[in-house]
């Protein structure tokens, strides 16, 4: 990252804002701050940030309206911060367009890892057009619709392949159950929710070294799934 990235941090608690900003600045990131939704909107238009970190517990309204507003004119990655007891607010934020979430309290290391992943995603998505993706010992050629483990070709059913492609397009991003069900089955949530679990299970069996301890297709409990390329 040669040109410093700019991150907008929307947080009303001074101490939390401080340690987040300090940690980001140490990583050579320019930090814009806002403590309420209105200021956040102003900063996002004038400051042109590359990414936003948004606390969902703001005093002047939930972050949802901010996310929805941003998404009407920007694709910048959004990381939300949420208190644990509510999966619902995370799911709503993700469905409204947020990319990832962190549960409070969180370690700085975790925050920086997520930030780097999201910034990298933004950078690669702007330049990436390759159909070839490699993770673990699997390589996928989307142009040829080939999935290989080393030299061995793996057979995936149509739905399994579709699911894999959705993951590959959204590396690092948390995909809610609702989003995945809609993309694949396009229908009502309650009828097919278990199918998603079953197909993810099948995909893990085929692609992961240890399906019970997956390294790529990760479960975000109560929320959805996240695909990572791994180390």
């Amino acid at each position: 990252m040669t040109t410093p990235n700019t991150i907008l941090v929307v947080e009303d608690q001074h101490d939390i804002l401080k340690f987040i900003s300090d940690a980001l600045r140490k990583e050579n990131i320019r930090v814009l701050t806002a403590s309420n939704i209105r200021d956040a909107l102003n900063e996002s238009t004038t400051g042109q940030p590359d990414m936003a970190i948004l606390d969902l517990g703001l005093p002047d309204g939930d972050g949802l309206t901010l996310i929805q507003n941003l998404r009407t004119w920007s694709q910048l990655p959004i990381l939300v911060l949420s208190a644990r007891s509510d999966e619902l607010d995370k799911i709503n934020a993700l469905d409204a367009g947020a990319d990832d979430y962190l549960t409070k309290p969180f370690a700085i290391g975790e925050l920086l890892a997520r930030v780097r992943a999201l910034l990298r995603r933004r950078a690669t998505s702007q330049s990436n057009t390759s159909p070839l993706i490699v993770f673990g010992d699997i390589s996928v050629n989307r142009a040829q619709r080939e999935v290989m483990r080393g030299t061995e070709a793996l057979h995936l059913t149509a739905i399994e392949y579709q699911l894999l492609c959705i993951f590959l397009v959204n590396v690092g991003k948390v995909l809610t159950h609702r989003y995945l069900l809609n993309e694949i089955w396009g229908g009502t949530f309650t009828e097919n929710a278990h199918y998603l679990r079953i197909y993810v299970g099948h995909l893990r069996k085929k692609l992961e070294l240890d399906p019970t301890q997956p390294k790529h297709i990760l479960t975000e409990t109560g929320v959805g799934y996240r695909f990572v390329l791994g180390d």
Partner: protein
């Protein structure tokens, strides 16, 4: 004044009235036709009947004929008759007088009855109004007592059931034991019961069960001081009307109470719920700030001495534990209030086992974990976040109290899936196996491990909410904690 005295009085007055009439008419002899004297006497009969009733009227009929015969018909001052046609006059006069008397008295009785009914209807209407506006049982009871006393001259006692179906008396009068038994009998049978005044020599009583629209509401006991039960029977229709209004009123008061209760419960639930969410946010904010700031000590340039870095790490650990405790407490509060709705979904249990191990991977690194899952485990219906919490709590316990080996098992027994976390190590004292699941109880008092005894209590609340059970067993060389989840009917999967 009893009936007999009434009777004698009526005879006396009517005799006197006829006598007076005769005296007044006597100067008219010779100047007026005798027929008109007859009319006068008939008029007196009508008036006496209207005023005083049938007895007076009948008496007057006979006395008028006698006086007419003695004082006005030749030969005067004797019962004998010179002109035989007057015998016809006497007979017809008597018949007419008697008929007039009966008809008039009948009319009079009807009029009196109508007046009484009108009065009672008015009183009943006023009772209904008073009951409709009463908001407490005491108000209703006194309205009923007052009505019964003023309109029916009866003492009223309301006998109502409490929440455990025991009957209690309400009102200013008290029933004797025998009367309470009668009230019980009326309540149980649902029929009106009446007793003459034999039961305790002074009172006669009626027991009217109060039938509400959904169930029996109690009994209205009406007690009188008069000797004649005839009076009560006459009022039976009236009593039934009162019982009906009373039942409706008692029922309404009951539902008012139920509505109040429900309102209060909803309001207190809302309050509790908003307190819990406010607490959650308010507690997590300083925790987040403290954790973040403690963590940032690791990143200070130039780096702090190792001792300070170690303190910073220890600070982080403590804060995380505090956070865990707070989460547990808040969840326990929500679960116990019954306010936590489970977000159940059909899913494989492998997933949640995997995420639990992932969450605890840093503290599990020194332990050896084996997973044995039955191959035919179906999808189970559970709230992933909560069951993950249970597994994490159990794993943390296994780490705390075990000495290295942990085994996770899942299989099917009957209608339930059995999941267990087994750790090798010291067994739990047999008398504590159940107690460890109660709040604030730790397994071994001599153990120096940290933590309140909340973890297992939360596990139990969560598992119970899912319709399963959780318990602990001692093994040869360790402890096994097992919980069950109902299999239910998994959705059909067409692949």
């Amino acid at each position: 004044m009893n009936a007999k005295t009434h009777y004698l009085r009526d005879i006396f007055y009517s005799t006197v009235a006829c006598g007076l009439t005769a005296l007044l008419a006597m100067p008219l002899i010779g100047r007026m036709n005798l027929v008109n004297i007859v009319m006068l006497f008939l008029l007196v009969v009508v008036l006496l009947t209207v005023k005083m009733g049938r007895t007076a009227g009948v008496t007057a009929a006979f006395v008028s004929v006698a006086l007419f015969d003695v004082l006005f018909v030749e030969p005067r001052f004797s019962f004998s008759v010179t002109d035989a046609q007057y015998i016809l006059t006497f007979i017809v006069m008597l018949i007419v007088a008697l008929v007039i008397s009966y008809l008039t008295s009948h009319l009079r009785e009807q009029m009196l009855e109508a007046e009484l009914k009108a009065q009672q209807s008015q009183a009943l209407y006023e009772l209904a109004q008073a009951l409709a506006s009463s908001v407490t049982l005491t108000q209703a009871t006194s309205a009923i007592s007052q009505f019964m006393h003023q309109s029916l001259r009866l003492e009223a006692v309301l006998v109502l059931p409490d929440t455990t179906e025991n009957l209690h008396q309400h009102g200013e009068h008290r029933l004797t034991e025998v009367e309470m038994l009668m009230a019980h009998a009326a309540y149980d049978s649902g029929n009106i019961m009446q007793t003459g005044y034999q039961n305790d020599g002074e009172h006669s009583s009626t027991y009217l069960p109060l039938h509400g629209s959904t169930r029996k509401r109690g009994v209205l006991a009406a007690r009188s001081n008069i000797e004649s039960t005839g009076e009560l029977l006459h009022d039976r229709a009236m009593l039934e009307a009162v019982a009906s209004i009373t039942a409706a009123s008692i029922e309404r008061l009951h539902f008012v109470e139920v509505a109040h209760d429900a309102e209060w419960r909803v309001a207190s639930e809302r309050l509790r719920s908003s307190i819990l969410s406010a607490l959650s946010h308010d507690i997590r904010t300083p925790l987040t700030a403290a954790y973040g700031m403690a963590d940032s000590l690791h990143l200070i340039e130039p780096p702090l001495p190792q001792a300070a870095q170690d303190t910073a790490t220890a600070l982080c650990t403590q804060i995380l534990q505090l956070n865990q405790m707070v989460s547990n407490l808040l969840d326990l509060a929500k679960l116990q209030a019954g306010g936590m709705t489970l977000r159940r979904e059909w899913q494989p249990v492998e997933e949640v086992i995997g995420t639990s191990l992932q969450l605890l991977q840093s503290i599990l690194s020194k332990h050896h974990v084996t997973i044995k899952l039955a191959p035919d485990l179906p999808l189970l219906n559970f709230d992933a976040v909560l069951i993950e919490r249970v597994l994490c709590n159990l794993l943390e316990n296994a780490i705390k109290y075990g000495n290295g080996n942990i085994e996770i098992n899942a299989d099917i027994k009957g209608d339930f899936a059995h999941l267990s976390i087994q750790n090798s190590g010291k067994p739990i004292p047999a008398d504590k196996l159940e107690q460890i699941f109660t709040l604030f109880e730790r397994g071994s008092e001599s153990h120096t491990a940290h933590g309140t005894g909340i973890g297992l209590s939360i596990c139990r609340s969560i598992i119970n909410a899912h319709g399963g059970q959780i318990w602990a067993e001692n093994l040869n060389d360790g402890v096994n904690i097992i919980f069950t989840l109902p299999l239910g009917t998994p959705p059909i999967v067409n692949l």
